[in-house]
């Protein structure tokens, strides 16, 4: 699971894909997830990190994380051969 290396994320959560010209806004948790993905963290590591930092149930975060990562794929922000 990898995010494209050239995808830029600003401190305010503005995400820009320089290949397609698309831009998006993500909330602070989304920003953190993208940052962890850029660092090459696995799904389990990201899961763990979010659980440690936010008051949320494990089942909820698993589902939301899966949806978020699917959405990144839908918007061509993930490496095509990346594993989810």
């Amino acid at each position: 699971m990898k995010i494209k290396q050239d995808v830029a994320v600003s401190d305010s959560g503005f995400v820009f894909n320089p290949t397609t010209g698309d831009s998006f806004s993500v909330n602070p948790i989304g920003m953190e997830i993208i940052k962890l993905m850029k660092e090459g963290k696995s799904m389990e590591e990201i899961n763990k990190s979010v659980l440690e930092n936010y008051n949320v149930e494990e089942k909820t975060i698993e589902k939301d994380l899966y949806d978020f990562i699917e959405m990144l794929g839908h918007y061509s922000l993930r490496e095509e051969n990346g594993q989810t």
């Binding site: 050239d6 830029a8 820009f16 320089p18 290949t19 397609t20 010209g21």
Partner: protein, 348 residues
């Protein structure tokens, strides 16, 4: 040693709602690092805004419409050259390019350089030749047919599905959804631009443009791809952003190396939902959004000038992505005397 100073004639001063590239090209020339410039506007109409932009356009002369024939154009350019000693002319209207390409030897003899595609290159990329162009160079293009008479529509629609795009030979395009709309669009476009009228498969998707510069020997000197972010009802980009889509860079290299394109150009593409790029148009001149290229580090008009004048030009190797252009309109206050002068004497 100081920088050389060139006198450069530029057309398309119509910085209007569907703007010509003349003003952004002049801005780029004024910012050139390798030379100073005196800019000579070449206008067709007294109300082209560039005529009155004296901080950019040093002097303007009217020139005759292409329909007047190349002899009148040569006569007028000879007169202008006597006053100004032009080093280069950068023509920017599709409809005038044929005349300038034809006149290149005569203009060269007057000491005026051009840097335009050859007549063959110009013809090959005409809208009505796009299917053959796509096939020859293995580039995906939408299905299109040229028609001269509106009554050919029924026969044509056996191979097309509604909606279709109806395009003029030089300018104008409408998306039409029915026979009635088609007839209206055909009549409007053919009365303005003549025939053939081009009927093109409608490709739905995001619009991308590429501008660049070929040296005429197959080398890419400049290339900047852009995605349109805001499109006017005339289909013109009002805002756009520079991007790094590798496919567009490769396509442009292929276009330049295979055609040995000489001069500036714009490729218009649409990316469909399946992610495939269709080349819908090749414009044989720099686009109205050319100033974005300068903004991202590639002064294409400067490089074109240096190529035309035989100076050494290094190919650009990078540009900034994520830079946007946002176009705006601006009202100038102009004294009637200025309008009177350009209207009556053809000079300002």
């Amino acid at each position: 040693m100081g920088k050389p100073k060139y006198t450069i004639g530029v057309t398309a001063l119509n910085a209007i709602d569907s703007p010509g590239p003349g003003i952004p090209i002049i801005r780029a020339l004024k910012q050139a690092a390798s030379f100073d410039v005196r800019t000579i506007g070449l206008s067709y109409e007294s109300l082209e805004p560039g005529v009155y932009m004296h901080d950019l356009v040093d002097k303007t002369y009217h020139i005759p419409y292409p329909s007047s024939g190349i002899d009148f154009l040569l006569e007028r350019l000879t007169y202008i050259n006597k006053q100004e000693k032009l080093d280069l002319i950068i023509p920017n209207f599709d409809a005038e390019l044929f005349s300038f390409i034809k006149l290149e030897p005569e203009l060269n003899a007057l000491g005026i350089k051009l840097f335009l595609p050859s007549q063959e290159q110009f013809e090959e990329r005409q809208k009505f030749n796009l299917p053959e162009f796509g096939e020859k160079y293995d580039i995906l293009v939408p299905k299109s047919e040229s028609i001269f008479q509106v009554n050919k529509l029924r026969e044509l629609m056996k191979d097309f599905e509604w909606p279709v795009v109806v395009k003029g030979k030089f300018y104008d395009a409408s998306i039409v959804y029915s026979e009635n709309q088609f007839v209206t669009a055909f009549n409007k476009i053919s009365s303005k631009w003549g025939t053939p009228v081009i009927v093109q498969e409608f490709i739905q998707g995001a619009e991308f443009n590429v501008t660049g510069l070929g040296d005429g020997k197959g080398n890419t000197i400049a290339v900047v791809p852009m995605r349109k972010q805001y499109i006017t009802d005339k289909g013109k980009a009002w805002g756009g952003i520079s991007i790094a889509e590798q496919y567009l860079l490769e396509l442009t290299d292929k276009f330049i190396s295979q055609t040995k394109w000489r001069g500036g150009f714009e490729l218009e593409l649409i990316k469909n939902k399946a992610g495939k790029f269709y080349l819908v148009e090749i414009n044989p001149r720099m686009p109205a959004w050319i100033y974005l290229a300068i903004g991202v580090g590639q002064n294409i008009p400067e490089a074109l000038t240096n190529l035309a004048l035989g100076n050494k030009v290094e190919a650009f190797t990078k540009y900034k992505t994520g830079k946007m252009f946002i176009r705006y309109s601006w009202d100038m206050i102009v004294d009637l005397e200025e309008f009177e002068k350009i209207s009556t004497t053809g000079e300002l």
